[in-house]
Chain length 167, copies 2
DNA sequence: GACATAAGTTCTAATTTAGAATTATATAGA
DNA sequence: TCTATATAATTCTAAATTAGAACTTATGTC
């Protein structure tokens, strides 16, 4: 499957993966949320080649996640700032960081702590149901095809049957 | 930067990206949460080459996200099931799907709908603060270095100063 | 005996990424 | 004027990764 095909898949995960599903994009976005904005700043804090950095920034701009904004007229210089669409990636970034905090830290402990300005406490993110407020687990969620669904493959259906039989 | 270096970074995001930060791993995990377990089922529902699928499954097993379990003795056959560490990826998957639902769907609408078995309603995931329960936004969070932190680079510090000046 | 199933492995060609060097445009100083 | 610096890239070659197809192994079935 080509990258371009991913964008067209009738699947919200696949389409999001087309935007952020490579390691550099996620690391660049981490920097964005840490207030990094300029080409050379990204390049200094990530050990990314200039080539790839230019490419990924272009991609993120094309998808509307970043906006390329002039900050100086002569010579023309630009910085890359998060759009609302980009800011909306925050739960993804936070849940990735949180999983790493739980499952990937070494003996020295967490590299970063998060403080909620609203309540002034160190916190972890918790994902809840918008309707009843209960924390979500995979087993408590049932998936239905929506209006944008595609027929699932025969093998997929077969696997679903086996899954049901297991329950 | 090599993939192996990512795992060693003093950053929970980078370390998680080392595990799930490529498109195939995320798509494979999507299938896992949809109850797909067997090699040929993965291969049929994703248009992945057998080569890469074998490679990625091995990686996910190595990281403890999947477990390779025999389901038939002769000939020996295995299936791949999520460990608790793997199940804990659910908030990441859900937040990725949700962002796609908001920002990437076409006119036909969402490919999938989620029903919460607990309250029996269609829902969206919401990320809240573990301490005060308020929904999280990037701007309401302040980041501190934790015990596992590394000194940030001079350029990073410079960028942070500029960020402060902007506020 | 021929064919089918499941879970891979192996091979070559195409694509992507790494790493270093170079370009473009303008400012600042000797 | 000449030289050096800053910022944001682009270009080049070599190395690594991925795509796509064919092959392997160990049964079980018609």
């Amino acid at each position: 499957m080509k990258w371009d095909a991913l964008e067209e898949e009738p699947c919200s995960l696949a389409r999001t993966v087309a935007v952020i599903g490579d390691r550099w994009s996620l690391l660049i976005l981490r920097e964005c949320f840490l207030r990094i904005r300029r080409f050379d700043e990204f390049q200094a804090s990530l050990e990314i080649t200039r080539h790839l950095l230019a490419d990924r920034l272009k991609k993120l701009v094309r998808f509307g996640v970043l906006r390329r904004v002039p900050y100086q007229a002569s010579p023309k210089r630009y910085e890359y700032i998060l759009t609302q669409k980009g800011l909306d990636l925050y739960p993804i970034i936070m849940s990735i960081v949180h999983w790493g905090n739980i499952h990937m830290v070494d003996s020295r402990g967490r590299p970063m702590l998060h403080e909620h300005k609203t309540c002034k406490k160190l916190f972890d993110p918790v994902m809840i149901c918008s309707e009843c407020g209960v924390p979500l687990t995979a087993k408590a969620v049932h998936v239905h095809p929506g209006p944008g669904a595609r027929q699932s493959s025969p093998m997929h259906a077969k696997a679903q049957e086996r899954a049901k039989a297991r329950t």
